[in-house]
Symmetry: D2
Subunit: 347 residues, 4 copies
Amino acid sequence: MTATPPDVLRCAYAEFVVSDLAASREFYVDVLGLVVTHEDDEAIYLRAFEEYLHHSLVLRKGDTPALAVLAYRVRTPGDLDLAEAYYRELGVRVERRPAGATRGIGEAVRILDPLGFPVEFFHEAEHVERFTQRYDVHGAGALSRLDHFNVCTPDVPAARKYYEGLGFRVSEDIQDDEGTVYAAWMFRKPTVHDVALTGGDGPRLHHIAFAGHERHQILHICDHLGAVRRSDMIERGPGRHGVSNAFYLYLRDPDGHRIEIYTHDYYTGDPDNPVITWDVHDNQRRDWWGNPVVPSWYAEASPVLDLDGAVQPLVVRSDAREADVTIGADGFSYTAEQQGFKLGQQV
Amino acid sequence: MTATPPDVLRCAYAEFVVSDLAASREFYVDVLGLVVTHEDDEAIYLRAFEEYLHHSLVLRKGDTPALAVLAYRVRTPGDLDLAEAYYRELGVRVERRPAGATRGIGEAVRILDPLGFPVEFFHEAEHVERFTQRYDVHGAGALSRLDHFNVCTPDVPAARKYYEGLGFRVSEDIQDDEGTVYAAWMFRKPTVHDVALTGGDGPRLHHIAFAGHERHQILHICDHLGAVRRSDMIERGPGRHGVSNAFYLYLRDPDGHRIEIYTHDYYTGDPDNPVITWDVHDNQRRDWWGNPVVPSWYAEASPVLDLDGAVQPLVVRSDAREADVTIGADGFSYTAEQQGFKLGQQV
Amino acid sequence: MTATPPDVLRCAYAEFVVSDLAASREFYVDVLGLVVTHEDDEAIYLRAFEEYLHHSLVLRKGDTPALAVLAYRVRTPGDLDLAEAYYRELGVRVERRPAGATRGIGEAVRILDPLGFPVEFFHEAEHVERFTQRYDVHGAGALSRLDHFNVCTPDVPAARKYYEGLGFRVSEDIQDDEGTVYAAWMFRKPTVHDVALTGGDGPRLHHIAFAGHERHQILHICDHLGAVRRSDMIERGPGRHGVSNAFYLYLRDPDGHRIEIYTHDYYTGDPDNPVITWDVHDNQRRDWWGNPVVPSWYAEASPVLDLDGAVQPLVVRSDAREADVTIGADGFSYTAEQQGFKLGQQV
Amino acid sequence: MTATPPDVLRCAYAEFVVSDLAASREFYVDVLGLVVTHEDDEAIYLRAFEEYLHHSLVLRKGDTPALAVLAYRVRTPGDLDLAEAYYRELGVRVERRPAGATRGIGEAVRILDPLGFPVEFFHEAEHVERFTQRYDVHGAGALSRLDHFNVCTPDVPAARKYYEGLGFRVSEDIQDDEGTVYAAWMFRKPTVHDVALTGGDGPRLHHIAFAGHERHQILHICDHLGAVRRSDMIERGPGRHGVSNAFYLYLRDPDGHRIEIYTHDYYTGDPDNPVITWDVHDNQRRDWWGNPVVPSWYAEASPVLDLDGAVQPLVVRSDAREADVTIGADGFSYTAEQQGFKLGQQV
């Protein structure tokens, strides 16, 4: 590659295709408390309380629930030209989109990235009221901002290399003694990640995550779902991640799209920020408290669309799978290395 | 006294006269999040989320903002007869009220107590839905239940003796080296208090308090008032009390009635529960962090009505006043005894 | 029964036989932060930060890890005579123990109760410093007080009847449509329980519970166990109970004794406190968020000793077992009744 | 200026001269819980739990309590050369310091900045264990990382221009209708600030701040100081700032150096991050809840040393002072603009 990559600021928004806007609204607005910037019969544009761009999540009505796009914001309008040139040299499909092609978003470059994901780069966006101090409308589970994307991709080292080319750095990863890489966390803004690479059949979207300030806000979301008898939407957690140290909760929206609620990770902005490599057999890597990861969390993910709206075909992971090497008859995990291995238990 | 006192369970409800129901509603419902059991043009009946009796607070429209009644619940219907006989022997005015005289409340005995307060005893009350797990309607500052009353009375030892006659016990008090008693906390349910006696001109109502579960809920109420530009309603706190160890916040409603939000006190139900006596000069007795008590908190309180609805005249406190002995040119307070006294500072 | 039962205040202390005092000390003192009142080569006497009696937990060294005694405090010394007469009429073994038979505890009556548990009643106990405001030694997971016992007993209705005879009342229970009772929660102090009756082979001790003030304190205990690589001690949770509404965590000590950490239940002290009956198939009864109960939590419990220190034989439960009717091929549970039943999933 | 400024990452460490190392250690280690990286008879090197560089605070024994240096980390070793050239062109005193001149810090450039402060730029530093997940040693008031410096300087617009030259941007400021600037908040890392400029006689250090994750950690520090009868160390707060939206607490160390504990500010990393200008008369700008700022907070600050260790002389602020225009007979403040002005009250 000779082209200069665009200067990516951070993950900025995602667009989901959902089958029932009203059902999705109940989840994202009534339960999660996201702020509606705009809504009509076709789509709902949402943001969290500390965001001032038009939206960080678009829900668009459609027949096939899927991820329609992952968008990164770039530092300057000129970065769009860099992005276009960069991806043309990479040889993937590239589209220039005029301002307003997505409501509230300025001119953009949209590509199908080498991992198979529809990705957009934009700089300009409409500013809206930042609700940071609108405590009169903050619920007990108030969310602050979009934090990261997590994508399933079969070849994690290849995906890491691609994202390093875009200027992302690794904060943490999961490996085994033989060098198989199961997952990696990569960032531009100085948090643990803007995008996590999860080894699996791909391209699929594992989840997107919103950050809050304190853990009781996450616990309230669970309590709220219990109160409306939708505790089945709680897939995993709440818990403390080993990786990232974040307190987490995984929910499934009415179409099965996975949403993480996340808080308490750490500053990674210094250039020598220490990379943490976790052993795939370490029982506390995914949950610091050793609580099991539910099988669906490993197995299920959202399909992704290409730039024409067709579902992308999957490439099967050929490396070992984390669930297989850590759960069940062939897998093993440990809590404390000196205590030896614990066979056949969930991790 | 030869009569047997009624078996008081706990403080149960208060009725406030307010000048503007709509303004009060904004405060009690929109900000504090109390649940409306019933409302009409004359009154609003409110309860907190874990309460199943009809109300713990009544706001009644009237010209003169005042306390209309403090109500205690008694264990059995038969305790009403005991109450009637007890107060007749005490020689104060006693009225028997039929069920429904106050909406939602059964038969009751209402008296003008020896301290000059309108007090009601009742057993029966209408049951309503307990919202303990209705997390879908709990706001970020959810309140659980009425916790206590705090009354201004000129002679604290006399008031204590009266309440001990009713079976209340003291958990904590504030005194000086010469035996002057400035305040006492008394309970029936096993918390620090159902009623606190604050030395001052009386009868006046110092405040009523609602309890929540966690401190962030109290902090949110402050944030909410800031967001609606009504931070002037925050009179004192938030802070940690020395007495009771509770985390506290004092608000003033639109008529100046003082409401405390309260959490984290301790179990007092064993008969040998140790009584804690605080030195009036101890700078941490009213705020464990040594933050000053604002003068209005010492000086202002709500008038109280007699059983005919007329404002009760005040009896002036003749003993030393806490504000005088601890604040200003003649007062002194200390944080650590060995560090000597700190003259002329607010406590 | 013609005898008057003693006036029980509350659950007061438990004594565990542990196999390794040093290992137990690491768990109860270094991780849970309990205060050591006394320790020697044979035993450790522990209390939580808001307790002023000598201890609420005794760990005694022995070969067979077991429950040695559950102790209730009674209101007066005279209640010991009532207890003695009451249990003699019940026909169970009764022993009078002199003051100091257990360090820090006055004269006591010890019995083998009709459910097969060694139970003590005492009134007098040595007072020690109450650490309520000793924030300099409170850790991030500070515990306030012993909250309750939970015992396994085969016939829950019979056990309930026995405890009702002692003046306990039911706050909540779990039943099915055919009237089988799976568990019941009973109290003297006005919380959800002093003792819970869990249907199962008995007598066995399911757990004892300590209460804290806020949920982050419970989460810290999990984080702490992760940090010392003992997350295997976390058996279940943290989570929100449906029953009691409490936030919970279940740990296993080095001998497998189960400890619950507990906060946020509600006031039950009024005589008409509404009893809540949960359907055994309701997926949110044990965890409001629908997270599964681990099988060990249903299956395992501590043996209990008789008054001579021999392990009590078990009586097998003949009624249906909660795990069987809610988990696996024959069991079913639901989150929302209208959504129908979910077969074969963990609850 | 033609020289290129160094690429500053963030505020990195401060060095305080303290009169009594043991007394300072009690405050910073026993109360605040900072981790000791190294200590000897002359100095203590401290860091917070999520920091992996050698220290973020040095306490050095000396006769005159003062600020010895404020240090910023730069992105590359080459930035040291840029810094040297930049400040030589600026015409201030510049010193090159070899690695180890300060323990744990590599080669550095130290200058006396145009505002009169001793400032260091460094890139290399010794790495030490990051205690992010060492929950076994985290206290209830655990601190995560140094967040910012706050300096008193007479001419805020001039100081802002200087820092903008270094690549800092403004997030928020306080002005009046006539354009007087009372304070400005400026950042390199994407938080509200790395340095705040407070209008006043200068150069003096107003405070340095450490960030934690949740508010209960800040409240615990207050409780802890109460428990050891040092509540006099609490100068202001806890409270919620209007500016920055952060939850705050101001403490004074044994020499009077001011330490802020801080949490909950927001992401500022996008280039169009909206600047918030507060009206100096807005009563919620310094405390969102309208609680008064204590006079000492406006009046007192630490002296700063020049590069030879002599105390810098002060330049008096000639513009209006915030305390004067908002407190007392000549000042005014308001909570809600439409309610008119509130004269003569503290803000």
